[in-house]
């Protein structure tokens, strides 16, 4: 059989790097441009609204001040002496006459831009200055007729407080407007952003689903990240499939090896068993050699079985073993019988007391059998000729069971007890007795207990020996007879 066990590696993608978008296309650029435009728009809008309002207020005020009676009075006064007709009316109010046709005045300077509007036929023209150094309003109004007193320019300068009030009002209005608009803009920008982030989050949670990440379309940073994630997911999916394929090949390889090794091992074991019978009869001196050979065959068989089992149990992401109602008593009896034969060949006695009634537990019978075999075989392997091993099964009240495996072998130092069952750990006594050994056996016992929800305890015995205890719940409801595995 030729099987390639390829190495598992994660290679980075060799695709070209993703190109970042331009300023307008990037998320950053969009936010900057969007913010500047929004701010400019808000400022302009507020300015025009405030300005138009003030112009309107200024015109109303001016036209109310310069009613026909007052215009007539000013005209009469002006015509008496046009050169000195400019007059201060107090409260920052100043009136200057001028010629509506020429836009010139003999008494002071005239706002030519506004004068042009009057010349064009408008009854009045207004300017409001509320942001410059001189804050106030200017109204040009035609008084009728011709000459240097045919129109008047009315200026009103505002005092400090009024100026301050206007500026505070302006700033407040600007601030409120900016706040409202920015909030709106943020919502408008952030909502789709959050929605896309949420899709990305879903995509990240379900690694291996590139199509989810691709739902976040767009050429900005988020779109770029989503595309990168989608590519990474594709790579992860490919790698995962490759790894699973390789693991499957490895598992099949181990299973095939395990299967193929069992047949010659059986043949060897049977031959050695026959040989042991003959040697015991004809050449007892050679018996230790046969015992050693038998122990080695059993070790090889258990190593192969444990390799496959360890592979199954160590795969935390693999399918959990299907737990079924199993008669623990009958499995333990099978293990006791098998191990007692091996033990007898090693000059060790295995006793068992398993009660009479079935003890139903939820478990995987194959794993359970291997667990019990490992414990009992360990007790035999590390014991000496004349040693004893006991396998017992008792109920713990109505809802539990306890399996004990005791031996009077060299035992384990108390300081080493907590490490028993850790992968690759072997006690110093075990190493001394037999330098080979993988430490897999008890690791499988621990892992099996974890899977079944059982506990596994180790204790030293006086004057020597080790006790292993497995405890767990029994099935309290009677399953249908066909469902029980014995």
């Amino acid at each position: 059989m030729s099987v390639s066990l390829g190495r598992v590696s994660l290679r980075p993608s060799r695709r070209p790097p993703l190109v970042r978008g331009t300023l307008g296309g990037s998320l950053y650029g969009r936010i900057v441009v969007g913010t500047v435009l929004t701010a400019a728009g808000v400022v302009a809008a507020v300015y025009f609204i405030v300005h138009a309002t003030l112009v309107d207020v200024g015109r109303t005020w001016g036209e109310r001040l310069a009613d026909r009676t007052r215009l007539a009075e000013w005209r009469a006064s002006c015509e008496a002496d046009p050169r000195h007709a400019a007059q201060d009316l107090g409260d920052g109010l100043r009136v200057v006459p001028f010629d509506v046709r020429s836009g010139r005045s003999l008494a002071g300077s005239i706002d030519h831009a506004l004068a042009t509007e009057l010349e064009a036929g408008a009854p009045s023209a207004v300017r409001v200055d509320w942001l410059g150094r001189t804050v106030g309003a200017r109204l040009l109004v035609a008084a009728g007729g011709e000459g240097p007193c045919s129109a008047f320019q009315i200026d009103r300068r505002l005092d400090h407080l009024a100026v301050k009030e206007i500026r505070v009002a302006w700033a407040t209005a600007l601030f409120v407007a900016l706040f409202v608009l920015l909030a709106g803009a943020l919502v408008a920008v952030l909502r789709p952003l959050l929605r896309r982030l949420s899709i990305l989050e879903r995509a990240a949670a379900g690694v291996g689903s590139p199509e989810v990440a691709r739902q976040v379309s767009g050429s900005d940073e988020l779109g770029t990240i989503a595309e990168a994630m989608a590519r990474a997911f594709e790579q992860i999916t490919l790698d995962r499939e490759r790894i699973l394929r390789e693991v499957r090949v490895r598992d099949e390889f181990i299973a095939d090896i395990s299967h193929d090794v069992r047949t010659p091992t059986t043949s060897l074991q049977l031959s050695l068993e026959e040989l042991d019978e003959r040697v015991a009869r004809d050449a007892p001196d050679a018996r230790p050699l046969v015992r050693r050979a038998l122990a080695d065959v059993v070790y090889i068989a258990s190593l192969v079985a444990n390799l496959g089992m360890a592979r199954k149990l160590s795969d935390e992401n693999g399918p959990l073993p299907t737990l079924r109602p199993v008669d623990l008593r009958s499995i333990a009896e099978r293990v006791a019988l098998r191990c007692a034969i091996f033990a007898k060949r090693q000059g060790i006695v295995v006793e068992h007391a398993l009660g009479e009634a079935p003890v139903l537990v939820m478990t995987d019978p194959v794993i359970l059998e291997q667990m019990l075999t490992n414990i009992v075989e360990n007790a035999i392997r590390y014991n000496e000729v004349g040693g004893r091993v006991a396998l017992t099964l008792d109920r713990r009240g109505r809802e539990g069971f306890v399996v004990h495996v005791r031996d009077d072998g060299p035992g384990v130092a108390p300081s080493e007890l907590p490490h028993l069952g850790q992968r690759t750990f072997r006690s110093s006594a075990a190493r001394e007795r037999d330098p080979r050994g993988s430490g897999l056996g008890l690791a499988i016992v621990r892992a099996g207990c974890d899977r079944f929800g059982w506990t596994c305890g180790f204790a030293t015995l006086e004057p020597r020996g080790l006790e292993v205890a497995l405890e767990g719940p029994v099935v309290t409801e009677t399953p249908p007879p066909g469902a029980i595995i014995r």
């Binding site: 299973a255 395990s258 299967h259 193929d260 069992r262 047949t263 091992t265 059986t266 043949s267 060897l268 074991q269 049977l270 031959s271 068993e273 026959e274 065959v297 068989a301 079985a305 496959g308 089992m309 073993p321 299907t322 019988l337 098998r338 034969i341 091996f342 006793e351 068992h352 007391a353 009660g355 995987d364 019978p365 194959v366 004893r388 091993v389 006991a390 017992t392 099964l393 008792d394 109920r395 009240g397 004990h404 005791r406 031996d407 009077d408 595995i485």
Partner: protein, 224 residues
């Protein structure tokens, strides 16, 4: 020697060395054995005569072991023990589903093979417990609840009876306590020790029939 009519075994095994060892062991235990090294031969042999038991290896050339199992079961009700190198539960379940009565996982021991075969061919019937049982020189009358020459309390007699009923079997203290002492409640397993101690003392020489089994508890021996 087992009755040949009841003890003819069909062994289906393609590995020559293993088959030879199995045949030798079975024949030396008094069974008549026919060997088939492939599925077709097995089916042919099975249709030509009746067997008391079939030992069937599941990995066979030409015809798959499961197919042989299914065909054999359809033909008659011969008990079939499958011999398998498979470690998957599914393999075992499939074998049971197709009608196997037991399985023997490779690698196995000859003694194990013989024990499994014997279990199927000579299922011991649970005999009626004799109403009078001898223990050395003493006779135990189960109806009168007496032991010659000894006065046992009710509880001591219950414990002795429990052990006698299971003569030859090792029993845990918990098992003895729950079977012989517990009346509607749990009994400390160590109480068993004191009862056994008193029974041994009262029985004198016959007390040696009750041996302590290391790591387990007690056993009523067949011989002292």
């Amino acid at each position: 020697m087992p009755n040949p009519e009841r003890s003819s075994i069909l062994l289906v095994e393609d590995d020559a060395a293993m088959a030879a060892t199995m045949v030798r062991a079975l024949r030396s235990s008094g069974y008549e054995v026919e060997l088939a090294t492939d599925g077709e031969r097995a089916l042919a042999l099975a249709s030509s005569r009746t067997f008391a038991l079939v030992l069937l290896d599941l990995r066979l050339p030409f015809v798959d072991g499961y197919a042989v199992l299914e065909k054999l079961r359809k033909r008659d009700h011969v008990p079939i023990i499958v011999v398998t190198a498979g470690t998957e539960l599914a393999d075992r379940l499939k074998a049971f589903e197709l009608g196997a009565v037991d399985f023997l996982a490779k690698p196995f021991w000859i003694e194990e093979l013989l024990a499994r075969v014997q279990l199927r061919l000579k299922r011991p019937k649970r005999s009626e417990v004799a109403r009078r049982v001898s223990l050395g020189t003493r006779v135990i009358d189960l109806d009168a609840r007496t032991v010659t020459g000894v006065e046992l309390t009710r509880v001591e007699f219950d414990v002795l009876l429990f052990l006698l009923d299971r003569r030859g079997q090792a029993l845990t203290r918990d098992f003895i306590a729950s079977g012989a002492l517990s009346v509607g409640g749990e009994v400390d397993a160590r109480t068993v020790d004191s009862h056994i101690g008193r029974i041994r003392k009262k029985l004198g020489a016959e007390g040696l029939f009750i041996s302590t089994v290391w790591g387990v508890g007690y056993r009523c021996e067949l011989e002292p």
